[in-house]
């Protein structure tokens, strides 16, 4: 090879950059996060799979509804009525009370930084007894 040194150096640099995820991960796949689901409450405002994919759109709708037209009532898929409130409904004591055990798990895993918390204050988490 002519100019072999430079070319091989170039190949190595290129390889190093392009294989970044492989050596960065180095064979240790972080386990898929498990969210802690509510114990008491069995149903959400929409079925689980729907919420998994589209919760951000539901919350977006709620915000617009509350802030812009002062409509606070949400009729869920099962006919029940809910108060449109992130802090009081979603994150009530019976549901997803702990941001760190529910919201953050997936968001951190997939690198999502929602701007909910620009305005909302997540409910205080009581330091529970450790298991």
């Amino acid at each position: 090879m002519y100019d072999g040194g430079k070319i091989i150096a170039g190949i190595i640099i290129g390889l190093a950059l392009l294989t970044f995820p492989i050596w960065y991960t180095s064979g240790r796949a972080a386990p898929k996060p498990e969210v802690k689901l509510p114990v008491k409450e069995k149903e959400c405002v929409q079925p689980g799979p729907y919420m998994k994919k589209k919760h951000m759109q539901v919350l977006d709708l709620w915000r617009d509804s509350v802030v812009r037209v002062q409509q606070r009532s949400y009729v869920a898929f099962n006919g029940k009525e809910y108060d449109m409130s992130l802090q009081n409904t979603c994150m009530s004591a019976d549901c997803h009370a702990k941001k760190s055990e529910f919201c953050d798990r997936c968001h951190n895993y997939t690198g999502v930084v929602p701007y909910c918390w620009d305005c909302h204050i997540p409910p205080k988490e009581k330091p529970e007894e450790k298991h």
Binding site: I22, R28, A29
Partner: protein, 345 residues
Amino acid sequence: MNVILSLIVSSVAVFGLVVIAFVGVWGAHLEWLFGVVIPYLAVITFFVGMIYRVVQWGKCAMPFRIPSTCGQQKTLPWLKRTYVDKLDNPVGTVAVVGRMILEVLCFRSLFRNTRLEFGNGQEIKYKSAKWLWFGSIVFHYTFLIVLLRHLRFFTEPMPFFVPIIEKVDGFFQLYVPTLYQSGLLLGAAATFLLLRRVIDGKMRYISLPADYFPLFLILGLATTGVLMRYVLKADVVSIKELTMGLVSFRPVVPEGISVLFYIHIFLVSVFFAYFPFSKLTHMAGVFLSPTRNVSNNSRIVRHINPWNYPVKVHTYAAYEDEFREKMIDAGLPVEKGAPEPAKPE
């Protein structure tokens, strides 16, 4: 091949790929094939193919130094050269590296682009035409940003720059989930590059299916990506489980990933596998271009041609043998048989 045929061939090819992935996963449930086997094969093809390409180029000799000089040469000590001259007509490694950086990162040569205006009569004008440069810059850099953003699926924890890129890219906080400007711009730039091929008569005439195919492929990639993120939605946690399985070499195929994802990753796989066999090799080739990556110094330093071989020449002796009489008559000096100094007069 005519433009219409080229467009048909290349768009049908991309559409065919979509159908293959759709049938394969939705009909035949070949999630492992499309989610694991093919991506692995594609990435291997990419790396082996690209290294093979570069090594093949490396094996070709560089017999002469033939930089395209685009500025004043290094010459008399009092003749000052501007920075532009030093970069466009480089002497020495630093200048060459500078020229290559400008070329690779800023598309320096494309920035010179002009457009011919051939008016009737004898009015010929060369208008500045930065659109191609601008379109290409936007296309390549947004592509890079999109790629870097995808690191969120391939690293855990994410390196510091990924959230920063995402934050900047989603700066306007439009739509939910946040709209990335890079995606929008990438689509626009690819469309621009496609349209100029179809609309400009010259471009139409020189374009091959091999020019349309990658553009359609990239537009296909972008479309499936947009659908997944904004419209049909996808289970990102499961997807990341799959992609992390790939990079950690512990492949898994979680339940609940939509067929759209498999179409997307299949198009990506084809894109990677296609790379080394196509014009996309310009990604590596640009670094090796002998009209850009050498010094204009062959009058200063002798450059060696590895296959320089002796050639048949017409020597002075043979020349003089042929013309000796005439040279002597004309009073030109000769080596042999010069008239004796004893001149009669």
